[in-house]
Amino acid sequence: VHRVRFFGLVPAGVRCLAYQARGARLALARTDGAVEIYNFGANYFQEKVIPGHETRSVEALCWAAGDRLFGAGLSGDIVEYDLARLSVSHSVDGCGGPIWSMEANRSGTQLAIGCEDGSVKLFQVVPDGIQFERNLDRRKGRILCLSWHPSGSHIVAGSINIFRVLDVSSGLTVQTVMVNCRVQKVKRECVVWSIAFLSSGTVITSDSFGRVQFWDWEKGTVQESYTVSTSAALSMAVSESEDSLIVGTSSGTTHQLQLLPVKMDSQEKRWVRTKPFQYHTHDVRAVAHSPTALISGGLDAQLVIRPLMEKVNKKNYDVALRKFTFPHRRLVSCARKARLLLFQFSQHLELWRLGSTEETGKDGEVLPLCRMPEHLVQLKSKGPEHISCSCVSPCGSWIAYSTASRFHLCRVQCEGNTISVKKV
C-alpha cells in the first residue's frame, strides 16, 4: 500500500443547487463552472458531470419545462445544458451585464433573470432554447436574488438594502421595501442574499445581518424576524409545501425553521426556529429543500443531505446523513507496470512515479523509502474547457485526456532522467 499524499487537489466549492421535485434530481454548480446531477431516487448517485469552463461561471441554476436545465452566470449568458451530451446546447445573451439570479416560474414556461444593471428580464422557454420576452421595471442596484409567486403573477427581487415586488403582467414595481431598518446606527449596507415568495403573499428574505425576515409584501411590514446568525445568512430555500425552510449562513451553520400550529387543533400557525446544524466549515452558499431532506452545499466543497427523521416512514438507507466530500469521478489513474500515477486537475494533469522500498515488514508497519515519489510531468491542457477525463496506459507510455470538445493523446518517453512528451 502506498501512502499518496502528493495529490494536491483543491475541490471547487458548491455555488448553487437546484432541486427538481418531479424527477428527484439535484443539479449542483461548482465555483469552477462544473455542473453535477445527482439522482436521489438511485441512492444519491452522481449521474452526470458537465465539466467546467474557464469563462463560464454559474451563479444560478434552474429546472424548467420538465427536465431541461438552465444556468446563468457572471458572463451574462443564459445557457441550456444538454444532459445527454453533457455540454452546453444553447446560449443566449441576457443583455443586462452579469446575471446574479435566475428563477423559473412554477409551470416552467418562463425564466426570470436578475442582472447587474438592476433589471429583471423575462425569457420564454421554447422547444429549441429560450426567447427574450420583455423587460420589467428597471431600478438601480444589482438584483441578487429573485423569486416567483407560485401563481406567476408577481416576482419579488432582492437587491442591496431593498427588495422590490414586480407585477409580471404590467411590468411595474408595485412595492419597494427597505430592509435595513431596525438596525441601529450602523451604516452598513444590508444585502438581501436570498428571497422567497410564498403563496400566502409572505416574502421571506435572508440578509447579510444574519436575519431571516418574514414580510407582508402588500403592506411592506415585517411580520417576524429571526436573527439566526451573527454573520450573513447567505442562502435560503423553502419546501414545496411551504411549512419548512432552511437557511445557510456564512459561519457554516444551517438552520431549519418550521411553520407550526400554535395549538393542537387551531389554524393559527407560527414560524419557529427548530434545528441548527453545523456540517460545514465554510460559507454555506447554496441550500435546497426536498420533501424529505435538507440539502446544503458550501465553499468547503461538501454537499450534505440531512434527512428529516419525522418525514421518513421506516428505517432504511434514506434516513442516514449523507456527506459528499470526495469527487465521485475517477481523477487518479494508475500505470501498474510502470508504477506511475496520473492525477487529473481541472486544467492540467500530473504524472508521478511512486516511491519504492527494499525492506520488508509485517502488516501495519511503515517502511522507509529508498526512493521518494517523483513528479515527472505536468501537462497543461489548452483552451478554456476543463478536462473531463484522463487515463494512463498500463505501461505508462501513453496518456489520454479529453475535454468536452476534444480528445488528446500523448506519448511519454522516459529515458533515464530525461522525460519527453510528444503529442500524438
Binding site: M264, V272, R273
Partner: protein, 810 residues
Amino acid sequence: VSSSSRYLLCASGDFVKVYSVATEETLQLMGGHADRVTGIQLNPHNHMQLYSSSLDGSIKLWDFMDGIAIKTFTVGSKLMALYAPPDFEDSVFVVTPKSADRDPFQLVSVKLTKAAGQDVEAKELSVVLSGVNASPKCIAFGREGKYVASVKQFELCVYFFKNKLAQRFSLRPSKANGGSNHFTCVTCHPMEDCIATGHADGKIRVWYANFHHRKDYTYSTLHWHHDTVMDLAYSVEGTYLLSGGVEAVLVVWPNESDCQRDFLPRLGSPIEHISMSADGSQCCTLHTDNRITIISSNLRFSKSIQGLIKSSNIKTGLVVDPRTKALVLNGEPGHLQFYCLQTDQQLFSLDIVQRTYIHQAGLHQTDLVKVAFGAQGKWLATVEEREEVADPELQLKLWYYNEETQSFKLNTRINTPHEDHITDMCFREMDELEDDSLILVTTGKDCVFKVWLMVENTDPEAQQRVSWSCDFVGSYHNYQATNCCFSEDGSLLAVSFEETVTVWDSVTWDLKCTFCCPPGKIRNICFGRLTCSKYLIGATDYGFLCCWNLLSCALEWSAHLNILVLQPDPLSEYIAAVSWLPTGSSLFVFKPNEAQPVYIQRNFCKQKIQLAAFVPRDEPEMVSSEKYLWLRRSQLFFLTKTQELMTLSAKSLEERLTPASKQLAVEESLPVTPFSLLLGKHRRRPSQENTDLGNRVVQNKHEQESPAVRELLHTPAHVLPSASFLCSMFINSLLISKENKSAEEVADEVEMESEQAEDDSDEEGGVTEMEQDDPSPVESLGELPCKLTKSQERELRKIRKVDYSWIAAF
C-alpha cells in the same frame, strides 16, 4: 406566589410558610402535617385556598390567610408531589410510590370528595401514568389540562386525557462534553402546545405542537447553561421562558422571534426552583442555600427572604455575636452570616474573603474556616484558607467594629499565620474594656500556638491606630496543637496538644501544668465558669469526658461517653455535652463540680449533631421544673449534619406557635381596590390640610379612632348588617370631625346618625359643602373659631338653603 402576588407560600419542612411579599415577614406558619411537605398548590377554584401534600400521605386544604386547615384528605401512601391544574373539576394529581415495582413511582389522580367533615378519606384514585420521576419538577400539565408531560431519564412522555393516549419521545443518550443529556425538568406553555424540557448538559429543548403525532415531532434547542438546568418556568402569557441552574443566573428566553435573551446574574447561589405569580408581576427563585429571591417583572432584583443560609460545609462552628445575640456561621461561600434567631432572618452577611466565587466543580475555593469574637463583639477574627492539599493558603484577618457605619472594618490582615491548618482560635475575654488586654490565641497543625497582641502604630501615616502582631509562639514536644481555651478570668490558657492538655500563664507565658488522658487525642476542652472555674473539662477521641481540678492538678472525675460537642454556657456554670452513638445523639448537661449530670436527654436526634451553641436570653425565662433550670439564662441550639438548626425548649410546640399565628397584618393585607384608595385618600387629607405640627397629632389620633371604618373592615362579612344600614354610618365616619368636639356631642353621636338617616336626601349636598368649606378657617386661623352648637349649625344650614336669588334682581 398567591394570585394577587401579595403572599409567598413556601413548603418548609413539615410546615407551610406564608410570607408577605411586600415586607418579607412570615405571616403564617401552618403546621399539621406529620411529615415533610412535598408539594403546595393554590386551589385553582378559590385563590385564597391552598392544597398541600406531605409524605405522611395526606392532602390538606388550607385557608392560608387565616392559617386554618379546612380539610384533610387521607390518601394513604406517601405523596411525593402535588399538582392542581385548573381544568379538572374536583381532582388533584399526586405522585405516589408503587408497591414493589421496577418503575417505583406513578402519577395518580385523586378525586377530592365534597363530603362533609374535616377528615375525609380520598378513595377514588386512578393511575394516570406509571413510571414517572419522583421529583415534582419532572411532571407538568399542559394548556387547558389537555395533556400531561412527564420526563424520566432520556424519555419525554406526553399523555393526552382526551383519547387516553401516551406518546413517548426518547433522546439518544450522549456523553458529549462531559455532561449527560438526560431530562431534568419540564414545563408546559400556558397558551400554546409547547413543552420546554431542561437537560443535565445545560440545554433546553422546546418541543412544538405536533407532538400528538408520534412521527411528526420537532424541537428546537436553546443553550446557554454550562451545567444542569435546574428549573424552567413560563411566564403567565407564555411570552418568555425562565431558566435557572447552578450558575446562579436567571435566564429569560423570549418566545418572540427577534428578541435577545436576557439575564439576571449574581443571584448568589444555584437556583433550585422558579415560580411565577399568577398576575405575572413577580417571579421568585428558590436557591439551594435556603433563600427565596423575589424578582420583579422587569427582571430587577426586588427582595430576598432568607433564613439560615445553607452553606456547603460549616467550618466556623456556631458562634454567638455578643452584640446582636445572632448566630454567626458560614453563609454564602466566603461570607459570614449573622442569623437572628428571634425573627428567623439574616441580619447581614459579611464578605470576608472578598473574592468572586466561581461556580465550577472541582475548583479550590478560598473559604472561611474559623471565627472568633472578642471584647464584647468589638473585634472579630477570621481565618480563611484555600483547600490545597500540600500547601494551604492561609489568611488571618482581624476586623474592628465601626460604630458609625455599624459594620466590621478590616484592621489587620496576616498572611500565613501558621505553616499549616489552623485548628482553633480564641480571644481572651476580660471584663474591663481595656484594649491592650485583648489577646488572640491561634493553634495550628504546625505544632505551635501563637499569641497575637494589639500594638500601637508608630508610623504617623498609618491609617489605623492599632494593628495586630505576633507576641509569643509556644509549643509542646512537637505535638500538633488542637484546641485552646481561656479561663473565665483570663489568667490561664489551656492548649491541647494531641493527647495532652497544657495550661499556661497568660501573663508570663509559662507552662504551668499538664494533664493527660492516655487513650485518644483531645477533642474539646473548656474551663468551668463562675463557681466551677477551678475545673477544666476535656473530651477525648476514645470516649472519655474528664474533669481536672486546677488547684490540685488531679483528675476529679471522668465518664465514658463519646462526646462530639462540648459547650459551656457563658452565663452559668452548666456545660452541655452531646454524645453520639449509632442509635442517635444524646445530650448531657452537667456542672463540673458534680459528676452526676443535671439533665439527660437520650437519643433526641437521629442525626449526628455537628455543632452546638448557647444563646443568652434577653431576660431569664420562667422555668417551671427543676429539670430545666439550666435553660433559664440561655437557650441551647444544635446544628446537625444536614444543617438543620434545632433547639431544646421546655414548652410544647403549640405554645410557641400561637403568638406567631395570631399576628395578621390587616393594614398591609388590604387589597388595592377603589374602596381602599378612597380610604387612603380619606386618611391622607387631614395631614395635607394641617400645617401645624400640633394639629397633626390630633388628626392622627382621629384617624386611628374612626371606629366605623375599622369595624367595617374587621368584622367578617357574613356577620355584617346589610350594606344600606352601614352606608350612613360609613359616610358619617368620612366627615371631618371638629377638633374641639364637646363631650355632649360625643354622647349625641348616635342620635345624630339617626337624624341624618332621616333626611339624607337633602342633607347630602350640605355634607359635601361642609367638607369644602371647613379647611379654610383651619388654615387661616390655626385653630377652629366656631363653637357652634348643633342647633345653631342646623339653623345655619337652613339659611344657606334659602333661595336668595331675588337679591340678584336688585
